[in-house]
């Protein structure tokens, strides 16, 4: 029982990050109908900037939490600028062009791989602990840092849910994802809404990167691993569906955690893939997808 609770807690921690990722992917797909492979690099940029600035700021005399907040703000700004550049000079021209946008994003992935490796170096980088200590929840040990991560992820998911459900922008985003032509006909400014959708998704990835930097080892290729898991979560849940993305993320994280504990981490990866095939066999558009 103790093990079960501990593993569930771990699954929820990993799932929280996947949720941030897959929400962004599903939002971009819903609004622009593109598959954004370079999403992981927005995450990487944020994580790398935090990992780069934090030690410098901390030795400069700031207290750890203050340095972390400052570094995160810079990191999120940097990642968002990268996202805006990608949109303005690239994806803007490839909306609703699945193959074209995917090819562009693969090119950007390769290019940014090279750029990040050049700028930040290939060495993995550890970040000092920001919030020390751990708490016990129902017998499971959870570090405060991870708890903080989960709290922010839940907060982001809830606020995205509320934004989509109740605000004017959210209504426009939903209208565009159901039928963009009809939405334009009733006066929704599609181009601007698509840009907002892309930037909200980038913000989610940037926050995930800034949050994850202190609890993991940061390297330039870190985004790709999370990207693959995020995509699998979205496929299982159904592209374009917000509850589907959350459900899929928790599901993938659970299999990964329990599989790694009882079998082996590579078998867990294989199990996740097997699962995707089974899901596709029975519901080709994902569990909650509408394509």
């Amino acid at each position: 029982m103790q093990t079960f609770i501990q593993l569930s807690a771990t699954a929820l921690q990993i799932g929280a990050v996947y949720v941030l990722f897959s929400l962004g992917l599903t939002l971009i797909f819903g609004v622009m109908r593109i598959v954004n492979f370079v999403h992981g690099h927005i995450f990487s940029v944020a994580a790398l900037v935090v990992a780069y600035l934090l030690p410098a700021l901390a030795t400069g005399g700031l207290s750890a939490p203050a340095a972390y907040v400052l570094a995160s703000l810079v990191a999120i700004t940097a990642a968002l600028s990268v996202g805006a550049l990608l949109y303005i000079f690239g994806f803007r021209y490839f909306q609703r062009d699945l193959v074209g946008s995917f090819i562009l994003s693969i090119g950007l992935v390769l290019l940014l791989d090279g750029v990040l490796l050049h700028v930040f170096g290939g060495a993995v980088r550890g970040v000092p602990e920001i919030f020390p200590g751990r708490v016990s929840i129902g017998g499971a040990q959870v570090t405060v840092q991870r708890l903080f991560l989960c709290a922010v992820a839940v907060l982001m998911a809830v606020s995205l849910y509320l934004t989509l459900g109740h605000s004017r922008l959210g209504k426009a985003l939903r209208a565009v994802s159901y039928d963009h032509e009809a939405a334009m006909m009733v006066g929704v400014p599609y181009a601007r809404i698509a840009f907002f959708g892309f930037m909200i998704a980038s913000l989610l990835a940037a926050i995930a990167g800034a949050l994850l930097a202190p609890v993991t080892i940061v390297s330039p290729v870190i985004g790709t691993d999370y990207l693959i898991k995020g995509f699998i979560a979205v496929i299982i849940g159904g592209l374009g569906s917000v509850p589907g993305a959350i459900l899929g993320s928790i599901f993938v994280a659970s299999i990964e955690t329990f599989g790694s504990y009882y079998l082996d981490s590579s078998y867990a990866t294989l199990a996740i893939f097997g699962l995707v095939i089974i899901v596709l066999l029975f519901c080709p558009k994902g569990v909650l997808g509408r394509g």
């Binding site: 699945l98 693969i106 090119g107 390769l110």
Partner: protein
């Protein structure tokens, strides 16, 4: 797409490639020629599936499957070289037919993403199977000693044969069905074409070539490891297709020759492969969507117009 691609051009280009494969003695140049031929085949296979509007990112997985099958058949079971490569192709074709039958029920993004995930899963799987060498890969996949000097010739001629097959299929009725599926699958189905079956056949045909390419790669390199078959392989093939020009049969081949030459040149200066390929794809997609060949065609068209104008002025 509809451009005539006469027999003469086939003979000239194919003949040149074969002649080069016989004449070049330098080991480094020979390895580059092999790489160009195999890359051209992979890119053509990718383009063939793009004809029906799907992007086959499982290409990396199936190339890997072909390479590992050929390696295992040759080293563990002692099958002769040609037989091992051929059986590897058949295994790959069968596996891809099953894969296609499952994933092609879903369209567009799902097919593409599953292909991507499948490549990564296969990579993990190779590293867990001790019979094929695990993480460190498989070594000692030698072609027979008699063939060793002939390897570039064997590779180039096999690739040429397969390219010819791709070309003939593209010009046949089956090729037209693929175009119809890309333009509008529902319309194609409404006139009685069994599109689902056609798509599965197209995938397994393309992957048969990928499997053979993988098998040749195994024998040329003599060492294969799981890392050789990550999704980057498909990404590079995509770069060849986009740079050369997607609309022309020669596009992927020109792209492969250009980019392989460029990257082996750049690596000499310690350049970064990712950077080069990524930059090439972005430039192609944003600035010359029809690729190098599209650009050349445009120039020639302008030139012809100019000449026409001049001769009209003469009267």
């Amino acid at each position: 797409m509809d451009r005539r691609f006469p027999l003469g051009l086939w003979v000239v280009l194919g003949g040149t490639a074969l002649l080069l494969s016989l004449l070049i003695q330098d080991i480094y140049l020979r390895s580059i020629l092999n790489l160009m031929a195999i890359s051209a085949l992979l890119a053509t296979s990718l383009r063939f599936v793009m004809l029906m509007g799907e992007l086959n990112f499982a290409l990396a997985a199936f190339t890997g499957l072909g390479a590992y099958s050929a390696g295992y058949l040759s080293t563990a079971l002692g099958l002769p070289f040609a037989f091992a490569v051929l059986v590897a192709g058949v295994i790959t074709a069968l596996a891809s037919a099953v894969f296609g039958a499952i994933t092609l029920r879903a369209k567009g993004p799902y097919f593409l993403l599953i292909g991507f995930a499948f490549s990564e899963a296969m990579r993990v799987a190779y590293s867990k199977i001790d019979a094929v060498g695990g993480t460190s890969g498989m070594v000692g996949i030698y072609p027979p000693r008699v063939f060793e000097d002939w390897m570039p010739f064997i590779v180039v001629s096999t690739v040429l044969l397969l390219l010819l097959a791709f070309y003939l299929v593209e010009r046949s009725n089956f090729g037209r069905i693929l175009f119809a599926i890309r333009e509008n699958e529902d319309v194609a189905r409404s006139v009685g074409i069994r599109t689902y079956i056609c798509k599965v056949i197209a995938i397994s045909g393309a992957c048969f070539a990928a499997g053979l390419a993988g098998g040749l790669h195994a024998f040329v390199n003599q060492v294969i490891s799981p890392g050789d078959f990550s999704y980057l392989l498909a990404a590079f093939a995509l770069a060849y297709v986009k740079i050369g020009g997607e609309d022309n049969f020669l596009g992927p081949i020109v792209g492969a020759v250009l980019l392989v030459a460029l990257s082996s040149y750049a690596i000499g200066f310690g350049g970064d492969e990712h950077f080069l390929y990524g930059g090439a794809i972005i430039i192609a997609v944003l600035l010359m969507p029809k690729g190098v060949l599209g650009l050349l065609g445009k120039l020639r068209l302008n030139g012809a117009a100019l000449i026409g104008k001049v001769s009209a002025d003469a009267y």
